[in-house]
């Protein structure tokens, strides 16, 4: 029950990048496209944030990449500089004056900001909690990513998978066929998996990343769903939680990818769509998909730990407490489920039902420190050094709890914690919440 169930994201990223087809844009076209995407992203909220910065630099002190390196360029608000420049020159009420004082963005600005918007930002949103002016910096960085992606300048690792997922509905070649194979292997273990049921109350999502290496996670999820006795299905035409369009910043791709899930859920008549343990997938589907789709949705998105936690609380999911020694754990809140998703209590409800001793880290819940791998960063080899520096902060917080086990509810976090364990020869056990639950069914 550890990261051995999921593949190494860095290796996957490298494999994907090798297949990227360049867009062949001139520098002028790149700048024009980036500007267009920046301006499209500036709504009333964004304009307010852009007007508000007092350049106090406090956001740096919330960012794991700045705290880990103390390099000024990793100050969160600095990562939005190209967007700020375009706002000042093209949109701001003071734009005529600003054109005299703010130089236009250049191709080298965009090149430089690739590292700042991708490698050094997991979009964890912690800076948005500290800014005294209340600037939602994380949402601004996503607009910077949108601009870079529109200019064809997103990292090859993310753009290649985004293109593949947009066009073929597969991730690194894994699509419906690989899902069917994985389902067969789970069924061979005696676990029922209702694949492609015509109608169901609940549609469960998986991810190619979850079954590229083995089918343990798929099996664990199925066991729990069956135990709850839910009317559920998994659809081969809309099973993928991950959205590489969102990670690369390619907004049209993001829209197309999330539409597949929505269409499948509508066809199934689902009331609930359960998103797999895939960090970014939850906020992308829960908080962005309907707006991109253009319609309110007739079902709700829940993360898998959120759903299981709710079922446990309602008494429909019964878990057993261990008879022997109580294990001591700490819980790493995935940023995308917690701070960016509002799901904190459900995972703790499950841990309570299993009966483990939970010691919280100093930064937990809404102020949790990111593991350093979210937002697609775990796939970027260029970000390895930064991730190591950021991970050190996480390690320190984990160490202070004294818990030998770290539980988390996101596979990217799990991957990152496992990687950190490898880097540091760390003696901690890293455990996936869904697998932990599936092993403690009553």
């Amino acid at each position: 029950m550890s990261a051995t169930t999921i593949p190494d994201y860095g290796t996957l990223g490298q494999r994907a990048a090798a297949g990227l087809k360049p867009k062949g844009l001139s520098d002028e076209q790149k700048i024009a496209r980036a500007k267009q995407a920046f301006i499209a992203g500036i709504d009333a909220d964004m304009a307010t944030y852009l007007e508000s910065c007092i350049h106090c630099g406090m956001c740096a002190e919330a960012c794991h990449f700045y705290l880990g390196t103390h390099e000024a360029k990793y100050t969160p608000i600095f990562k939005t500089e190209p967007l700020k420049k375009v706002y000042r020159r093209e949109v701001a009420p003071m734009r005529l004056f600003n054109r005299l004082t703010t130089r236009d963005i250049t191709i080298s600005d965009l090149e430089d900001w690739k590292e700042l918007a991708y490698d050094s930002c997991t979009q964890c949103g912690r800076c948005s909690l500290l800014c005294p002016m209340g600037i939602h910096i994380q949402s601004m960085i996503q607009v910077v990513r949108n601009g870079l992606a529109a200019a064809g300048m997103a990292p090859a690792e993310l753009q290649a998978v985004s293109d593949e997922q947009r066009d073929k509905a597969t991730i690194l070649g894994a699509g419906p066929d690989r899902l069917r194979e994985a389902v067969e292997r789970v069924r061979a273990q005696g676990i029922e998996v209702p694949l492609d049921k015509e109608k169901a109350e609940i549609m469960v999502l998986s991810s190619a990343l979850d079954f590229l290496k083995d089918e343990q996670l798929l099996g664990a999820t199925a066991r729990i769903m069956n135990k709850i006795g839910a009317d559920w299905t998994i659809r081969s035409d809309g099973f993928e939680s991950a959205n590489f369009g969102a990670l690369s910043g390619d907004k049209p791709a993001q829209r197309r990818i999330s539409k597949r899930v929505i269409d499948a859920a509508v066809a199934t008549g689902a009331k609930k769509v359960i998103v797999a343990e895939c960090g970014h997938a939850y906020p992308v589907l829960r908080w962005e998909a309907a707006t991109l789709y253009g319609k309110e949705l007739p079902f709700e998105f829940l993360s898998v730990s959120e759903y299981f936690g709710q079922e446990s609380k309602a008494g429909r999911l019964k878990l057993k407490k261990p008879s022997g020694e109580v294990s001591h754990v700490t819980f790493h809140d995935p940023c995308k489920l917690g701070r960016m998703g509002g799901s904190f209590d459900e995972a703790r409800e499950l841990l309570g039902a299993i009966g483990v001793k939970l010691t919280e880290m100093e930064s937990h819940g809404r102020t949790n420190l990111c593991c350093g791998g979210g937002g697609g960063v775990s796939m970027l080899q260029s970000a390895d050094k930064l991730r190591k520096a950021a991970f050190e902060l996480k390690r320190e917080e984990v160490e202070r709890t004294g818990a030998p086990t770290v539980v988390t509810a996101c596979n990217t976090c799990l991957q990152t914690l496992e990687k950190g364990k490898q880097w540091l020869s760390w003696d901690k056990e890293i455990v996936n919440l869904v697998q932990m639950v599936s092993e403690n069914l009553d």
């Binding site: 350049h55 500290l130 002016m133 949705l297 509002g342």
Partner: protein, 243 residues
Amino acid sequence: MNEGLYWQGMTLLDFARGPAFRWSVAIFIVGVIWRLTMLILAKRKRLEPPKGAPVAGGTKAVATRSTPPGELYGGLTTLLTRSAPAHELEKNIVFQHYSGYAWHISMFIILFLGTPHMLFFADILGFTWPTLPGWIITFFTVITMGILLVLFARRLMNPVLRKISTWDDYISWVIAFLPFLTGFMSVAHLTPFMDYETMLGLHFLSVCALLIWFPFGKLMHALVIWPSRYKVGAAFARRGVRA
């Protein structure tokens, strides 16, 4: 006072607290209204139900969506709660945080509880209020100037601040500092090469400069802080998170 001939027979002080001040206030008001109006653009509609709200369909869902009480509450509470971030976030910014508090509070004490300031406002408002002794106001002025100088030095030396500072930060610093300096020099009668009235005139002019610059530079943060905090509070509250 003949305003048509204000260049003639008018001292600097007369000019500063007369036409210069009136024009500055007018520019301040028009500028602030203009800049805030420019922020009220078409708001993007979010189609996802807020945390805890029912999904689409049904009267309950419609009613919940039209008045998002959670967002309103989240936005309003963040106006205040953001002033005191969680310990684990604040522990690294103690100096910036408290120095910021110290000089802003000091500024308001000087502005509203200094006798000459109260009398100036009383002239406009028509009523008076108790003030603090002059020496206390002078003390706060010195403290404020001291903090502002330290913060200025910090902006010049701290790598993060150097990276993100713009011309606006330095102009705004000078504009914010001058009223304290000229006010202090007037009260302390430190008026080299000029009489007291001229120094007081310069004090008024420094305030005029502040009023004129206010809507166009970062001093405007005194107003945009509120919609910004509200919006971040509401955005997080929508997701069921306290900002």
